[in-house]
């Protein structure tokens, strides 16, 4: 670890890393990079989590990965180290490697972090910021980092006040930033099941009689996932459909019921659909470059419901 962190120093360490990797392997290594992927987390989060996630993600989204670990409180010095994540694709003889930089800082040094990050971005490639901590995401001092990324992926899961988080996301999006919520991504499988149900013509015909949808969500305050789902169902099925919520032990959303005159359609969601792994969700988001216009409407709808 180096105490004084300079971007030039880190870049030099990275180029030395490549030289040594090249020498280690007879076949040489393939250096792969399609984006800069910044993963910001609280220092209190188990440091292995971000590393394991990146190791899985970079197979499909090779990147210059920057893990930013932020401790609350004061402290001026940043710390950094560089490493490579390498893997051997099945059936191939040459390793593919991605570079990874780890930076540790305190909250009060975030302005300095931004300066370092700006110099470390892989040239001309997209910049994605995954914010694993809601505390950081809502921090005023973190805003400049959000502004520096082409796409920001936050996660309102488990927020004590989901509406406040949704409002913060809406405010960023209103300023033209592409901020996405993994709570919305978590619904893709669920939404797909609902859509598949109404692919059947006899079921689609019953939709016009539906007046109420009941969403079963995890106990506690209505989670962002349930608010999003309610807003999406209204957006798709029409404003005559009134949402209601019921709580039960389990994943953020475990069932949806479509109710109306002579209609009762209950769609329960299997665990694999209702609670996908974070890595799967990030994989979906990293692969999406186009703006999500449905999300814009759903976000506005969810805020108006709350």
């Amino acid at each position: 670890m180096s105490a004084a962190v300079s971007p030039e120093g880190i870049l030099k360490e990275l180029s030395q890393l490549w030289v040594s990797l090249g020498k280690e392997d007879d076949a040489g290594v393939l250096r792969a990079c399609a984006m800069t992927l910044i993963m910001a987390a609280d220092e209190s989060e188990d440091s292995a989590i971000a590393g394991e996630m990146l190791a899985e993600l970079i197979h499909e989204h090779p990147s210059r990965a920057i893990v930013l670990r932020v401790r609350s409180g004061e402290g001026a010095a940043l710390e950094s180290r560089v490493l490579a994540q390498c893997w051997m694709p099945f059936g191939k003889r040459q390793q593919i490697c991605c570079e990874q930089v780890e930076i540790t800082s305190s909250e009060t040094s975030l302005a300095e972090v931004r300066r370092v990050l700006m110099a470390l971005l892989a040239p001309d490639l997209p910049v994605l910021l995954v914010c694993r901590s809601l505390r950081l995401f809502l921090l005023e001092a973190f805003r400049p980092l959000i502004a520096a990324a082409g796409k920001v992926i936050a996660d309102s899961r488990g927020a004590a006040d989901p509406v406040m988080v949704l409002a913060a996301i809406a405010s960023h999006r209103g300023e033209g930033r592409n901020v996405q919520d993994l709570a919305w991504t978590r619904l893709t499988g669920i939404r797909q099941e609902i859509a598949a149900h109404f692919d059947r013509p006899e079921e689609a015909a019953r939709l016009s009689s539906v007046r109420r949808v009941e969403i079963t969500h995890a106990t506690g305050p209505v989670p962002a996932e349930a608010l999003y789902l309610a807003a999406w169902l209204r957006h798709a099925a029409g404003p005559q459909v009134v949402p209601s919520f019921a709580a039960a032990e389990g994943p953020p959303v475990s069932q949806v019921a479509f109710l109306g005159d002579g209609v009762e359609i209950r769609i329960p969601f299997a665990a694999a659909i209702a609670a996908p792994r974070d890595c799967e969700l990030l994989h979906e988001e990293l692969g999406l470059a186009a703006p999500d216009s449905i999300y814009d409407r759903v976000l506005a709808g969810a805020l108006s419901l709350a």
Partner: protein, 514 residues
């Protein structure tokens, strides 16, 4: 009905995030005991299941004459999948699930009674498959007509549910047989239900040609006669006929590679952008391009198309027999195991630009690529001697699209050598598919099968395209059939006959060494 139409009218559909859904269906493979089924089709279907891209309800029926119970067929296919699965691990548990949907029905496709037996078996699964059926013709081409006729007579060509038929190459052995085959297919299935497979179009890099050309503003302005000097398409194989000599001697490289695959590749390189990325719009442009290829006049053929046949040679230090020494091959065979041809496209974009295409067996290595040679700088500031010696060999200004084995794109240009003086050297800027996306690229058969199941015919050839490419190839075939050549004319393990180099030399060009 479940499928594209239902998706369009379903208010819950989200085109941005939802994976393309493949509707439930039955897949029937004719020729299921054959080489293509075991090497490509079943491994591709298994891999689609591995990636959860198969529909929620599906059954696969294999047919050929050999009697065997389902379990024996399953065990046979399991071995094939293990052996031929490309860049992918084998998962025992997934195989057990997959195998439960795999059945075998023995029968002779020439026997009309067989089709009612098949219909009965398929009916048992209607609940699961919604009556949708995809018939895959992977038999010898002489069986295509009886199969399609049998399906029609048994009413299997019509729903409930959709019915599609995938036809393997060759689509006829000349223009007349291609037209006759099309007529017979269309007597039973509408053209929209006929999927003529050309696995080259399913290759990821060939599809990527369209993305590179039409999604970037930097290439298209240069993609025309003002800037492009010539285009070279190479599809080289190092293997010989691998025990298929008897089949190959009737077909030859012109029919086997140029009429279908390489003319389609050429069309992809040269076509105009379509108004939308939608099956018929893309295919209309491909077809238009194929129709613009100048048909060679009889007196032009000798100078524009070179046939070759390999003689004995050695590769990797091992002696290799010549084509005429291969088992099952006539010692006097006039078969072309190599073809090099010069084509021109008669439209405003390409007038005067030669498209050189070559393909052959027993060439030094297995490689398929497309090279766009741009014009040299109009005025050279640098001494010839400083440009890496022979300007031909230096070959700057070259965009190479590598189709196999390593898929990718390279741009070659001149750069200054480090150090004093203005010595230039060609350098290469490489994009490697594998490392930029880090993921395994699907095999052509995976892509094409899932497209056919989803009803997307963009990468399949249409009748007019087949006939347009026969129109290009037929005069060459006729000319070669009426002439006797001094074969063999290249040694196994070399880059083809001398006449092929001479063909390019006449225009001041030189084949690349890929």
């Amino acid at each position: 009905m479940v499928g594209a139409m239902a998706e369009a009218s379903n208010p819950f559909h989200d085109a941005l995030r939802f994976e393309r859904r493949v509707p439930p269906c039955a897949i029937v493979i004719f020729g299921a005991n054959g080489d293509l089924t075991k090497r490509k089709l079943i491994p591709a279907l298994y891999r689609l299941a591995y990636e959860r891209r198969m529909p929620s309800g599906y059954v696969i029926y294999g047919n050929s004459r050999t009697e065997m119970p389902d379990d024996v067929y399953r065990a046979k296919m399991k071995e094939s999948v293990k052996q031929f699965l490309e860049d992918s691990p084998f998962d025992e548990e997934l195989w057990s699930q997959f195998a439960q949907s795999l059945y075998y029905v023995a029968g002779d496709v020439q026997d009309t009674a067989f089709y009612s037996k098949l219909a009965g078996r398929l009916k048992e699964h209607d609940q699961k498959t919604a009556g949708n059926m995809l018939f895959y013709l992977s038999t010898q081409p002489s069986h295509y007509e009886p199969i399609v006729g049998g399906l029609g007579a048994a009413g299997l060509n019509q729903g409930p549910g959709w019915r599609r038929v995938v036809v393997e190459k060759p689509f006829g052995i000349d223009m007349a047989t291609a037209k006759a085959l099309n007529r017979r297919l269309q007597a039973v299935f509408p053209e929209s239900a006929i999927y003529r497979i050309d696995h080259y179009l399913g290759k990821e890099t060939v599809q990527n040609v369209l993305a590179v050309r039409f999604a970037n503003g930097i290439f298209e302005p240069l993609w025309n006669r003002r800037y492009v000097n010539n285009v070279q398409i190479t599809a080289a194989e190092s293997i010989g006929v691998e025990g298929r000599g008897a089949y190959y001697q009737e077909s030859g490289a012109l029919r086997d590679m140029i009429q279908n695959h390489l003319l389609q590749v050429m069309a992809t390189i040269a076509m105009e952008p379509s108004a939308a990325f939608e099956p018929n719009a893309v295919r209309d442009e491909r077809a238009k391009l194929l129709r613009s290829i100048r048909i060679l006049k009889e007196e032009e053929i000798a100078t524009h198309a070179v046939p070759g046949q390999y003689g004995p040679g050695s590769m990797g230090g091992k002696p290799i027999p010549g084509f005429r020494q291969e088992p099952g091959v006539n010692p006097e065979a006039q078969t072309d195991t190599y073809v090099a041809a010069t084509f021109f496209i008669d439209n405003w974009r390409w007038a005067g630009v030669p498209f050189y295409i070559r393909t052959g067996k027993r060439l030094p290595k297995r490689v398929t690529d497309i090279a766009i040679q741009f014009n040299a700088a109009p005025l050279s500031l640098f001494e010839r001697d400083n440009m890496g010696g022979n300007q031909h060999l230096a070959r700057p200004n070259l965009l190479i699209i590598r189709v196999q084995p390593e898929e990718g794109i390279s741009l070659r240009f001149l750069s200054k050598n480090p150090g004093g003086g203005m010595k230039l050297r060609p350098v290469s800027m490489d994009f490697n598919y594998g490392s930029s996306f880090g993921v395994r690229t699907p095999t052509a058969y995976e892509t094409l099968l899932v497209d056919a199941l989803a009803g997307d015919a963009t990468l399949y050839t249409r009748q007019d395209m087949v006939e347009a490419s026969w129109a290009v190839v037929q005069p060459i075939l006729d000319y070669w059939n009426s002439h006797k050549f001094e074969f063999p004319n290249y040694e196994a393990g070399t880059w083809g006959p001398r006449q092929s180099d001479e063909m390019l030399d006449r225009r001041g060009h030189l084949w690349r060494v890929p």
